[in-house]
Amino acid sequence: MDLLEWVRGPWLTWSFAIFIVGLIGRLAFLYFIGHGVDRVPPKGNPTWGGTRHLVAASLYHLPNLRRTQFTYGSAALFHLGLLVIVFFFGPHLLFIHDLTGLFWPALPAPVIDGVAVVTMVTLLAVLFHRLTTPVLRLMSDTNDYIAWLLTFLPILTGYLTIHNLTPNYPLTLAIHIMSFELLLVLLPFTKLAHTGLIFVSRFLTGYEMGKRGVGVRHG
């Protein structure tokens, strides 16, 4: 078996396995630590508050926007960019179809191309911002930089692959798939786990807000 077939075969299986064990494990862990009984009578609807906050926390905090232009703007850009690349590029769609049976129309490759470039440039800007902003420099650790790399590499290698920019196409394709597998394997153990944790933390805080009958937008 050559590299590409290892990568498409057992490595993919194991990467997914570790990803699922890791992420579900982490969520289960948080659940099983346990919490006390809540005796406080609510004013509003806590469950609705929790559910609403899942989306509301993403909404631009307009009053604060001036101070957070770059953070929100760049975050929205690269998250959307990732979404478009992963879920609207033909071959990726077929991968998802193979896994889940779902399928939907793809976007043309040149569009994905443009999105990939924008996303990579945004990620570079984000890195620069993290390295030069005092508040972020104080807090940032290896975890942050590894997470950045894990996010950047699949896009970069994908771009190189689709443009056939390297002498050996099958090897480049294999490296691209490997970068995705690396992302899968390490995701649960880095801050990229926020893909799963975000639902829990937002819900919990939204729950408390809903209990008090308030929401992000005044209640």
């Binding site: 078996m1 050559d2 590409l4 077939e5 498409r8 075969g9 057992p10 993919l12 299986t13 997914f16 396995a17 699922i20 064990v21 890791g22 992420l23 579900i24 494990g25 982490r26 969520l27 289960a28 862990f29 948080l30 659940y31 099983f32 630590i33 346990g34 609207f88 590029f89 033909g90 071959p91 990726h92 769609l93 077929l94 991968f95 179809h97 193979d98 896994l99 399928f103 129309p105 793809a106 976007l107 043309p108 490759a109 040149p110 056939n164 050996n168 196409y169 099958p170 394709l173």
Partner: protein, 353 residues
């Protein structure tokens, strides 16, 4: 068979004019991707070089490569190559058989020792001392080693000879191997299952003309024919770029000629000339006929996952269905275990430890 003649002399003798000869040289040179400046060189070589001898050895093959060879683009070229170089041994094509044929081969090899071109199709079985492929009482391995020693150039025709092919596919019961794995000399691989006829003749003609190996890639395939990916020359590429795929062999997409990526086309990872030269005198090729490329000119294409699984899908099916459920269950168990340890840590913290 007049082995001392030049190709030019042989052609003239067969009734071709000088004009026909020059036309042949031009076409051949163009096919090999040579610049017009070199056309004259081809003519000169064929005019002055002695008609070489070609020994063709078939081993674990299906004869598809030889069949492909006989359906070349221009019968004139095919004729010339076959008739006017000494095809001193070709089981399929020659009239002789049995001991008579073997004697002819031995004689040709002896007479042209060190100068003949050795073309091989089919892989060579090596299990149990090579006993699974035996010709005239000798193992193929044995015949190969002897023939290779006296060859000026070795050309592996077809995927079986180039990479092991079908006989070497899992589980490979005869321990079949590619030619290049068994001899020390450089081997020109002309893979494909089968290769395009014109590609075979083109490579052989090059060797005959220039007496040296053409430019080869890292898998020892002539870059003139194997330097481009199918994907980069495929006429359906715009559909790939637009994300329009045939979802079945008879659906609207298929009828509209959309990209066959989902139907398993291995075009992106396959290097061959099918998309440009096509097959059967330029009639068609798999994708044009509505079937995805099998990747048959690449090593191990039989074992590289289903022909009908898209290149961007996983080939291992265990992680679907029960795999995911099992992993999730394992995750819950691991998470719970870690949580109970954390609770113990919290209890200790509460007690001030």
């Amino acid at each position: 068979m007049g082995a001392k003649q030049t190709v030019y002399q042989a052609m003239r003798q067969a009734g071709f004019s000088r004009r026909d000869f020059l036309k042949f040289c031009t076409v051949t040179a163009a096919m090999m991707g040579l610049s017009p400046a070199l056309y004259g060189k081809v003519a000169q070589a064929l005019e002055t070089r002695r008609r070489p001898s070609l020994i063709w050895l078939p081993f674990q093959e299906c004869t598809g490569c030889t069949e492909s060879l006989t359906r070349t683009n221009s019968p004139a070229i095919g004729d010339l190559v076959l008739d006017h170089i000494s095809l001193d041994y070709s089981e399929t094509l020659q009239a002789a058989s049995g001991h008579q044929a073997e004697q002819a081969r031995a004689a040709a090899m002896k007479e042209n020792w060190g100068q003949y071109i050795l073309a091989i199709d089919g892989s060579v079985s090596t299990a149990d001392g090579g006993i699974h492929t035996v010709l005239a009482g000798r193992t193929a391995l044995d015949i190969l080693k002897e023939a290779a020693e006296g060859a000026a150039a070795v050309v592996a025709i077809g995927s079986c000879a180039s990479f092991g092919g079908l006989p070497a596919a899992s589980p490979n019961p005869t321990n079949a191997k590619a030619i290049s794995e068994l001899i020390g000399k450089p081997v020109i691989n002309v893979p494909g299952c089968p290769p395009i006829g014109d590609v075979i003749t083109g490579v052989v003609t090059y060797v005959l003309t220039f007496g040296k190996l053409p430019e080869l890639d890292d898998l020892n395939r002539p870059t003139a024919f194997y330097g481009q990916r199918i994907h980069d020359r495929c006429y359906r590429r715009p559909f790939y770029d637009k994300g329009l795929f045939a979802r079945g062999f008879d659906d609207a997409g298929a009828k509209a000629g959309h990209c066959l990526f989902q139907m398993g086309c291995k075009g992106p990872v396959t290097y061959n000339a099918c998309a440009t030269m096509k097959w059967n005198q330029g009639t068609s090729w798999p994708v044009q006929s509505g079937h995805g490329c099998l990747g048959c000119s690449e090593p191990n294409f039989w074992d590289n996952g289903s022909f009908y699984a898209a290149l961007s899908t996983g080939t291992d099916s265990t992680f679907k269905g029960i795999g995911i459920a099992a992993a999730a269950a394992a995750g819950v168990a691991a998470g719970a275990a870690m949580a109970f340890q954390a609770r113990a840590a919290r209890n200790k913290a509460q007690k001030g430890e």
